[in-house]
Amino acid sequence: MRYLLQRLGFYILAFLVAVTINFFLPRMMPGDPIQSFLARLAQNGGQITPETVKALESLYGYSTSTPLWEQFFTYLQSILHGDWGMSTRFFQPVVEVLGRGMLWTLLLVGSFLLISYTLTTLGGIWVAWKRGSRFDSILTVSSVIVSSVPAVVMALMLYFVFASDLGWFPTGYAYDPALDPALTGEFIQSVLYHMALPLIAMVLLSMGNIMGMRSNMINQLGEDFIVMGWAKGITDRKVMFNYGARNAILPVITAFAMSVGGIFAGSLIIEIIFNYPGVGQVMFQGMVARDYPLIQGYLLMMTLMVLSANLIADLLLLALDPRLRTSVL
């Protein structure tokens, strides 16, 4: 319990640091978003009145008249109240815009996590068990090669060959725009079909995780308690899963929590290339239009995602590793 509270305290602090970065960055940077907005407005022949400036200041949460620390607390307050500012690209609250994309991203990332971790964990256990076999050398080397291909390259190649050239997969959207979103078989099928190629790309890119599980498992298989298991005459399957894998999976869970940020970053690239309308695609549109509130909201949301993944990993570790429950940290 104490362990959990400590972690929770750390996460709250980390979130505050992210908010602070978000607050100070635009104020430290050479490019002032209000000035650049005004410049663009003037270029397009817009009228600039003191009211315009005031409206923009309140839109961005900037002000030249109030002191910095007061601005900071106002900012913090509005963040905690779910007011993350207005998107200047979509003319909607940032939370709403991001939330819409988040739905698809969570679907994509969630299915990815399920498929990828099942495949790589089982694959790693199996390969470690059969280490030295031809199967082992082929699978480990090919997984290293496949997963070291840059995400941009992998996604572009798959898109070019299977979506654009061969036309086996759709070239965009999360579902067939001709369909109405409803819980019908046809709609679900269309969603799955549109999700397939991005998912394949992400799963292929994550195949390197086999190596992590493999080396953990090989290290565990050399331990005395494994020999003990053999000596007791327990079945292979039980030694493999209950003795070896249960211990080998602990570092994988920690690594998972650390990699969530990277997974969302990867889904950003994938969404941009496959025109998948997730939060990454929204972010991309915002970035092209220099929609600063949206870009900052994205950073906050991703931080929240990583922190909650860490919390989930902590809970999982507590459930799997009894040593953590009794240790007084």
Partner: protein, 321 residues
Amino acid sequence: MNTVLTTSWFRLKEFFLNNPKAAIGIVLVLGVCILCFFAPLFTDYLPNARIARPHEAPSAEHILGTTRMGRDVWSQVIYGGRISILVGLVAGIFVMFMAMVVGISAGYFGGIVDNILSFLTNVVMVIPSLPLMLVLASYLDQVSPLVIAIIIGATSWPFGARVIRAQTLSIRNRDFIHAAEVMGESKKRMVFFEVMPNMLAILGSSFISTVIYAIMTEATLEFIGLGDPLSVTWGVMLYNAQQTSAIRIGAWWEILAPSMALASLAIGLALINFSIDEISNPKLRAQKIMAKFRREQAKENKRHKAQAEGKTGSEMVGGAV
């Protein structure tokens, strides 16, 4: 002199024969580096010169075709690699430097220093780096490759710092460190001459992973459109190809060329890293030993089986009599 040369050549050959993965990795990386850094030897065209009609398919004259702007793709790839590789190296050195300073001081000095540095590391670690880079880069507007290297360096050091801290902690409690402390060696000497040399393998492999990460991230940032569109790098090439809808009109060479260059460099570095891991952790190098073990075991099993069958056979005969 001559014998030294021949023996070292022999050792090198033996090393490569024993580590085919390392050999392929080194060949790939060296090949890409040589092509890029001696680029003028391998092409007659300047990367930014308009030398042909737009979107020409690969031919003898332009072996990888031309871009939308009528530039030679092959010369863009090999000239562009220079910047991509340099950015990877600069960011890699920056990250390693930060990681080493933070990791070694946290692990070696312990106490309050460790608490503060570890907290800092953990905080930067949970703030997702790509979104942070996107925020930084978009405020700076279109950024030059050097700035990209610095941004990557400033946001990506925590992972290495954690690994190095853990390693320092484990080295710190070994006897030779205590001995050196008793001898009254200075702190600086302790850190640089006692602790650091024992981490060379781990430093090497984190450096290589950082370089891979930096090259990929640079390409990603530029592909998204945060780079300087006038510079020639692999990421910018991909960005330009995407902008001129190379995919839709079937100009595959414009996408394929930088992609292959990026992929072969990344795969080569990953293979080298993989071999370093195997060499520094013999448990993972199980391939050959285990293969031999399996063969012996299979033979043994066969013999046992044959023996057992022979036995039951004779017993049965005995029973019948």
